[in-house]
Amino acid sequence: MKHIISIKDFGREEIDSLLARAGAIDAAPEIRKTLDGKQVALLFFEPSTRTRMSFTSAVSRLGGTTITVDSVEGSSISKGETLADTVRVVSSYVDAIVLRHPKEGAARLASEFASVPVINAGDGAGQHPSQTLLDLYTIRQSMPLKGIHIGLLGDLRYGRTTHSLAYALSNYDVTLHTIALPTLELPDSLVTELHKRGCTVQEHENIADVIPDLDVIYTTRIQRERFPDAASYYNVGESYRITPEILEGHKEGMIILHPLPRAGEIDPRVDALPCARYFEQARNGIPVRMAMLEEVI
């Protein structure tokens, strides 16, 4: 039985194979009914409307059906049941479980107790492999992953999407350029791990300095709560804002990604530029999640 818990469990070949499967789905989605007669439980113990909607859509497009828990209130968890018990019980109802949970490692635990495949749809500040895979898929639509220069921008300390993406890209001999907010640099432990995996990591203070080198800009939401007051949030946020002006002189074919929702990190004027791929990236959540479901069920 196969689970999808963390991108760290994936080697390069497995990633490539899953992305290829997503590509095949994208090319001819209407003929796939691989989940015909199958039911998937979407256990969402913290709110995440889009991830839930896209998994629901993915199951439905493969011909399957879903049953959903979308809050702790009203579920047996609120009565004090352990996640382990919940997962054991729900396993007997369905063919797979998609789990979103506020605690890190929850999906790993679920996979130990479930008798059906578990897909991690985000566990707290931990792993969110479907996001990473759709990020990789979106990059691969525009360029091969091998050897690219990618700029990671914003809150790199707490942003799990950037951590997972950086880890996954370390399979592809990439160069990571980090442009972090002050005090919000990539954790040292991750940088050490990336170096060990043969990845080059270069730190920069200013986005403009590195724009001409980048094949991909990956920017994330800057969270207001990381700043002492609204003014410093605004000031710092402004200096990390992607605008058409700052993009001048970018490499041909460069693309901009953002896991969305955004909060002012990208000027809306950028949306009309051909390099803006974040809405395409969100759309790619469907074929990638369809591929993940096919992979495990």
Partner: protein
């Protein structure tokens, strides 16, 4: 001036395990790591801050003797986390039949509490904490937190 009389602080045991060369002051932590608490019924002798001669140098050490129980290598290796110099002597009929050092195990299960409050292992779930021992420290297999310092204070 007369020399202080030297003698055995704790008696030899007939059968069981002697853990020697424990870092001074770590004996109680070692017992906790071995699951030997006030609730268990092993016959124990503990000596702490005993003068020791190691490599010609005088120092202090702790000793723990557990009667009538031969601790396996798997059981005792975990104490390498707090006392890598410790030695294990298996005693049968007052004779040391086996002497070995301790090696840090690759995996630690249920020994150390994860420092990440958001880790599922800190919830009321029927699982034990699980860490991989790496060069950097202890890597939580559930939440990926790496504990690099003060491991002793996180022992369950």
């Amino acid at each position: 001036m007369q020399n202080e009389p030297r003698g055995l602080l704790i008696s030899p045991i007939k059968d069981g395990t002697v853990i020697d060369h424990i870092r001074a002051g770590a004996a109680l932590t070692v017992l906790r790591m071995l699951g030997i608490t006030g609730q268990t019924d092993e016959e124990l002798s503990i000596a702490t801050n005993v003068t020791s001669m190691t490599g010609g140098q005088e120092g202090k050490k702790d000793i723990v003797k557990v009667s009538n129980r031969e601790l396996s290598k798997e059981e005792v290796d975990r104490i390498a986390l707090v006392s890598p110099q410790a030695t294990i002597n298996i005693i049968r009929d007052y004779i040391v039949v086996e002497k070995k050092g301790v090696e840090t195990p690759k995996l630690l299960s249920g020994i150390v509490k994860c420092t990440n409050a958001g880790c599922i292992t800190n919830d009321n779930e029927p699982i034990k904490s699980a860490f991989e021992v790496t060069e950097e420290g202890l890597h939580c297999l559930y939440c990926d937190t790496v504990i690099t310092t003060d491991i002793e204070s996180h022992i369950i």
